[in-house]
Amino acid sequence: MQERTMAATEIARQAGEGARGVPLSGHVGFDSMPDQLVNKSVNHGFCFNILCVGETGLGKSTLMDTLFNTKFEGEPTQHNQPGVQLKSNTYELQESNVRLKLTVVNTVGFGDQINKEDSYKSIVEFIDTQFEAYLQEELKIKRTLHSYHDTRIHACLYFIAPTGHSLKSLDLVTMKKLDSKVNIIPIIAKSDAISKSELTKFKIKITSELVSNGVQIYQFPTDDETVAEINSTMNGHLPFAVVGSTEEVKIGNKMVRARQYPWGTVQVENENHCDFVKLREMLIRVNMEDLREQTHTRHYELYRRCKLEEMGFKDTDPDSKPFSLQETYEAKRNEFMGELQKKEEEMRQMFVQRVKEKEAELKEAEKELHEKFDRLKKLHQDEKKKLEDKKKSLDDELNGFKQKKTAAELLQAQTQQAGSSATLKKDKERKNSGFL
């Protein structure tokens, strides 16, 4: 159900501005407007989402069953969960002609880990996810808000362990993180473990701890005279000390829901025994609509505002002139396009740079290579020269030798010739002498 809601007085005043009152001379019939509105809502059906936060074993599921007089699904969970998970179940309930789509979200494993520092994170994430889903739907171009199944958490029942002493630090930390995101209704679980006197002290301690830590819990509204009184009284009974039970015991001639102990029976719906009736009254019968409204107008708006600001949306330009939606989107689009182009440009530049560098590198390598070979060439030239020199010297030697040889041969030849002529002479002489 979607309502253009705001503080009632605000609208009446705003609407009244510029409107003059005129008397009516008869019954016009617009006093049926509230009925028309109610009929529409009834036809449309209602929806309500409750988040139960609390350690394992504090009776969250039992309390839900007791509150809504029915057995919801689910097995009791063990203590060995590795992290905090949120399990949600949706039920369609009907009472007379009113249809209610109820979603119960349970925190599974809350408080079971040794290190609980991040316990609240999955809860916050879950709540934000529902806000985000709604925001996305709201921002769509073609949207169907009036048939949207609202999954935003309307009420968070925070289960406090019945220690009787004070809040655990996990409780304070968690509630502090949640108080700006959801309507928190703190309740003391399994309160049949605490005696009445201890309970009063416990409640006072809890309330003062919440105040001193700046935790904003949900206050039942007191601006509507019809319910102002009961709401303000109930505000004083917070946190509600509850007991849940789905078992029935016969008391007198009636069957009542109760927990049976050897020393007596705790009746769930007995206001002397616990605040269950108060919780039911406040949560369901009196303020359910207000819880939904607060979620939409306060918690969701805060989320939305932060999200849009994060994305860079503003309501006014630097000159404080209001932007029209068109201008805002166009500006955003231009900015966005510019960003993309810049990124593209940067990437290109980077590549150009790399190419340059690589080119220089390769050029350097090429230069080195050439230098190397120039050196080798030079070496080679030197060697060649040496070789040439050696060759030359050999040739010189060869030539020298040849000359020597030739000279010697010549000499030899001459000598031989002389010798031979001498020999010849001798031979001739001998010959000649021989004849004698």
Partner: protein, 416 residues
């Protein structure tokens, strides 16, 4: 559907809603369009049983207009603890000129500007008050000619049926006899269907009673109304009516006209629905057109059909993702080209190096061969030289020996 045993109490939700709505108060904007003199102001006064237009606040009919104006009057009325801020939007000058082309434009502009205001208010980062000044209903007054719709009637309704809930009325119905009125209504409805004009339709209900009622109303459309500011006594009753020599036409008499039907429908039973249809249909229509124009920037509408389900921001996110993918692809491609080129260049370098190596090797080999050759030559030479030298030595020795022998012989004398 779960059955609950015992009373839980959320059946009280409607009461909570009731309570809150009364506290908030209600708003409604009603527009009346028609030529002057059709009794629009009188009808408004009759509907709301008040002198909306009086001596102090004269209705537009008293003022003479040359062009179409759009004027609004806001009044606050209370009844039974319920507060209603009623805005009446009048259009003096409509259809009164000689040339009435585009006389609907100021009306369209007004409706659109209210949508625009609402859209901007809804889209702000800091949203606070969001008064609903959108036009929830437009009563269109048809002159009781008895014949059919005028071209202006058709034109106007065609242009406005997508922007506002149009309820056509036959004005000054006391000038038509019941038979004439029946025929007139039939004719008008026929023409409305022919021109595919979408007038306000009553929503279906599951309730049988209500369904019967709605069917009866539908049969009477368009409603023929009579308005009056004057209270007359008829048979001891005080009634609003028009006094004629031949009798009194009573405004609230169902046999005289359909005024009561109109009032009941407009105010007592369907006021909320008129607001809902305005919000869920007409406004959303306007908004999606407006946002589509902003996001798609004049790109072909059919191409972007699938994108209309997203918000402009989601659209931008999508575009950003597409762009990132495109860039990645481009990056990979560029990277590939780069690598390839580098590889090429490196290969070239390598080849060039190999070539140079090879040449160098060859030259070296060449040189080595030459060296070897030289070595051999030298070796040969050395050998030859050594041989020759040995030979020479032998010869020398021989010579020496020979000369010695000769000497000896000489000494021996030439004794022969």
């Amino acid at each position: 559907m779960k059955n609950l045993e015992g009373y839980v109490g959320f059946a009280n939700l409607p009461n909570q809603v009731y309570r809150k709505s009364v506290k908030r108060g209600f708003e409604f904007t009603l527009m009346v369009v028609g030529e002057s003199g059709l009794g629009k102001s009188t009808l408004i006064n009759s509907l709301f049983l008040t002198d909306l237009y009086s001596k102090d606040y004269p209705g537009p009919s008293q003022r003479i207009k040359k062009t179409v104006q759009v004027e609004q009057s806001k009044v606050l009325i209370k009844e039974g603890g319920v507060q209603l801020t009623l805005t009446i939007v009048d259009t003096p000058g409509f259809g009164d000129a000689v040339d009435n082309s585009n006389c609907w434009q100021p009306v369209i502009n007004y409706i659109d500007s209210k949508f625009e205001d609402f859209l901007n208010a809804e889209s702000r980062v800091n949203r606070r008050q969001m008064p609903d000044n959108r036009v929830h209903c437009c009563l269109y007054f048809i002159a009781p000619s008895g014949h059919g719709l005028k071209p202006l009637d058709i034109e106007f309704m065609k242009r406005l049926h997508d922007k506002v809930n149009v309820i056509p009325l036959i004005a000054k119905a006391d000038t038509l006899t019941p038979e004439e009125c029946q025929l007139f209504k039939k004719q008008i409805m026929k023409e409305i269907q022919e021109h595919k004009i979408k007038i306000y339709e009553f929503p279906d209900t599951e309730d049988d009673e209500d369904s019967k009622l709605i069917r009866k109303i539908k049969e009477k459309m368009p409603l023929a109304v009579v308005g009056s500011n004057v209270v007359i006594e008829v048979n001891g009753r005080k009634v609003r009516g028009r006094q004629y020599p031949w009798g009194v036409a009573e405004v609230e008499n169902g046999e005289h006209c359909d005024f009561t039907v109109l009032r009941n429908m407009l105010i007592r039973t369907h006021m909320q629905d008129l607001k809902d249809v305005t919000n869920n249909v007409h406004y959303e229509n306007y908004r999606s057109k407006k946002l589509a124009a902003v996001t798609c920037n004049g790109v072909d509408a059919t191409k972007n059909k699938g994108q209309l389900t997203k918000s402009p921001l989601a659209q931008m996110e999508e575009e950003r993702r597409e762009h990132v993918m495109k860039m990645k692809k481009m990056e990979t491609e560029m990277e590939q080209v780069f690598e390839m080129k580098v590889k090429e260049k490196k290969q070239k370098l390598k080849d060039s190096e190999a070539e140079l190596e090879r040449r160098h090797e060859q030259m070296k080999k060449n040189l080595e061969a030459q060296y070897k050759e030289l070595e051999e030559k030298r070796h040969q030479f050395e050998e030859e030289k050594a041989n020759w030298e040995t030979q020479q030595r032998i010869l020398e020795q021989q010579k020496l020996d020979a000369s010695k022998t000769m000497e000896k012989n000489k000494k021996k004398g030439k004794i022969f």
